[in-house]
């Protein structure tokens, strides 16, 4: 299918065009970046029906024969995540048109933003394990630059720590790819999957699995590799935090981990147990450390660590139902967390501070920000009938069904903990009367910042639609079955994929 390279080509072209003409035309670069993200979302939505029909679309770049050359694969999981990522990126791009107005270097921001989007799209459609690594690096380096964008002291320090730890993770992944190549003598993921399906799990697969778990686990912020996340996500500008926390840790971390573990290496009890252990640690540690945080963005960052633990738990348990819950929770969390971070940016602009002790009465000062924050927080805590409840419910139910009631108990307890710290922190901030000495600019709100928050809040209310049978069969079950039925990836791509 010839349109697959356009997922990468359009944001990349927009980034280069912004780099050339951006300095003269200040407002234009933002509109271009938003258009690139919208184009990505549109193409992925348009491609979804044909992916459902054919189960995989393969585009071979320079392929004379199947197996040579670099291939790009769009299957159900990829198209599901492409829709999510591009939609969230579009919202964040529109928001940052409004947020970045006082900044004179806006074109640099939007060029880096488009590069990051191109890298994420590249990771999602990579059919080659080294292609995945290259685009992951493109997205990650663009992310490091974006964290340090306003060059205040805290941002630089956070960017340095994030960059060093990310570099370590990337080098571990490169070592893993090297050992995998020496074992399989091919870099194509489908061919590797076919090879590993016939070979029993030996020491090589275990070693490579641990290396990848270290590398991708750091990108996904699983405990004990999580320490860069509170710094980076709380010091970055608000739209960058939304992109990083809502999209980057899921695509670069969870998606890549799932793709390699389930489809290429073949899931074994050893790796699943490791994943479950790390997931439970993430849920619990993230939840406990979120208590008593006085900075609103740091609170959201620790909450991200906890929710990623949920997704990893769903993936680790491994039954089709739990993978369904994990993928659903992934989509939900992207929408909620980016909504919450965008809100925190609006709150910071409005009150001039990030300290939760000083923020009071957001709902009465600005109803849009207040009510969308409320919707996002309720969804994450898992209050029915908002979307977050359903995904957490599916994960807990799947744990019980798989015969692991202890994990279900942990998940339920952490859910109660989430409710506790969100309402401990946000109730005085949202409700309550505004303080008389509140600073910042009040009253002036641009529609560019308000519209994405409203759209994301509406989306978070209607993601419950995913549980209805028709929609669920179309999108969610297809995405989950790619991972649940891992060994069929090779057959789908090599034999059944439409070229």
């Amino acid at each position: 299918m010839n349109f697959i390279p356009y997922f990468i080509a359009i944001p990349l072209a927009v980034a280069f065009i912004i780099a050339i003409i951006g300095k003269k035309d200040k407002g234009f670069s933002g509109i271009l970046a938003a258009l690139a993200a919208a184009a990505g979302a549109f193409i992925s939505l348009a491609a979804a029906p044909s992916v459902m029909a054919n189960r995989a679309l393969v585009c071979g770049l320079g392929m004379a024969r199947a197996g040579l050359g670099i291939s790009m694969v769009v299957d159900s999981l990829s198209v599901f995540m492409l829709i999510t990522v591009n939609l969230v990126a579009f919202m964040v791009a529109v928001y940052s048109i409004g947020y970045m107005k006082p900044c004179d270097d806006r074109w640099k921001f939007f060029a880096l933003f488009s590069l990051m989007l191109a890298g994420m799209n590249g990771v999602l459609i990579a059919g080659d394990i080294f292609n995945l690594y290259v685009f992951m690096e493109v997205a990650a380096i663009a992310g490091y630059f974006l964290v340090a964008f306003e060059t205040r002291a805290e941002e630089l320090e956070a960017a340095f720590k994030y960059a060093v730890m990310g570099a370590l993770a990337s080098i571990f992944i490169l070592l893993g790819i090297a050992i995998l190549y020496s074992y399989a003598s091919t870099l194509n993921m489908a061919e590797m999957a076919r090879l590993f399906a016939q070979v029993p799990v030996g020491a090589t697969v275990k070693f490579v699995g641990v290396l990848f778990l270290m590398g991708f686990g750091l990108k996904a912020a699983l405990v004990p590799f999580h320490s860069w996340l509170p710094y980076a996500h709380s010091s970055a500008p608000a739209p960058v935090s939304a992109m990083l926390s809502g999209v980057s840790i899921k695509v670069l971390g969870i998606y890549a981990l799932a793709r390699i573990f389930f489809n290429v290496l073949g899931v074994s009890p050893y790796l699943s147990n490791l994943l479950i252990a790390l997931a439970v640690l993430s849920m619990v540690v993230g939840g406990i450390l979120a208590f008593g945080q006085s900075d609103i963005k740091r609170l959201f960052a620790y909450s991200s660590i906890s929710q990623i633990g949920y997704i990893a738990l769903g993936l680790g348990v491994g039954t089709p139902f739990s993978i369904l819950g994990a993928v659903f929770h992934l989509m939900n969390h992207s929408i909620f967390k980016s909504l919450l971070f965008l809100n925190s940016g609006a709150i910071e602009r409005m009150t001039g501070t990030k300290d939760l002790g000083k923020i009071r009465g957001i709902v009465s000062r600005d109803p849009v920000t207040g009510y969308t924050s409320l919707a996002g927080a309720l969804s994450i805590c898992g209050i029915p009938p908002l979307g977050g409840f359903w995904s957490k419910f599916v994960i807990i139910l799947a744990c019980i069904q798989a015969g692991r009631p202890f994990l279900a108990l942990c998940a339920a307890l952490v859910s109660i903990l989430t409710l506790a710290y969100y309402f401990n922190a946000l109730t005085p901030a949202l409700f309550g009367s505004p303080r008389r000495d509140a600073g910042g600019e009040a009253g002036k709100k641009s529609w560019a910042m308000a519209a994405p928050m409203l759209v994301l809040a509406a989306l978070s209310l209607i993601t419950v639609i995913m549980m209805f049978p028709n929609v669920s069969n179309a999108l969610l079950k297809g995405a989950a079955s790619v991972l649940a039925d891992g060994k069929s990836y090779a057959d789908i791509v090599i034999m059944g994929g439409v070229r």
Binding site: P5, Y6, A9, L12, A13, F16, I17, A19, I20, K23, T151
Partner: protein, 133 residues
């Protein structure tokens, strides 16, 4: 980075730089074009060409180097090189010899890009503002 840097280095360095600059540029282009048979290619050639400009900057000081190639032009050249690269990759053109065009685009991107970043790092002064001419 005080006033001493901007006046450059000693006479010996300046003379040798003047003599060898053309050869460095030629060597960079040679490595770019011979990338398919010997080690090299667009990336290595681009780095060597950037080194030529950096040589001017180190030996003569930043004003001389910036007189030769303004920073705004660098940005446009690097971006245009990358854009041409992308267009050639997506839409095949029959009349362009790929084995020459692609390394040249790579060289443009890498060479001018590296020199632009080096210039940016040099121009950062103590006050933290990025000064352009």
């Amino acid at each position: 980075m005080g006033n001493n840097e901007t006046r450059g280095m000693t006479v010996i360095v300046k003379t040798i730089t003047r003599l060898t600059l053309g050869f460095i540029l030629l060597y960079g282009i040679y490595i770019t074009l011979n990338g398919h048979v010997s080690p090299g290619g667009g990336f290595a050639g681009g780095v060597i060409i950037a080194l030529a400009f950096m040589h001017i900057m180190l030996a003569f000081g930043k004003e001389e180097a910036l007189k030769r190639l303004r920073v705004s032009r660098l940005r446009i050249l690097a971006g245009a090189g990358a854009l041409i690269f992308l267009i050639l990759a997506v839409r095949p053109c029959g009349f362009i010899d790929y084995s020459v065009a692609l390394p040249l685009c790579e060289m443009a991107v890498v060479g001018f890009g590296i020199f632009a970043i080096f210039t940016a790092l040099v121009l950062i002064s103590k006050t933290g503002k990025y000064k352009e001419d």
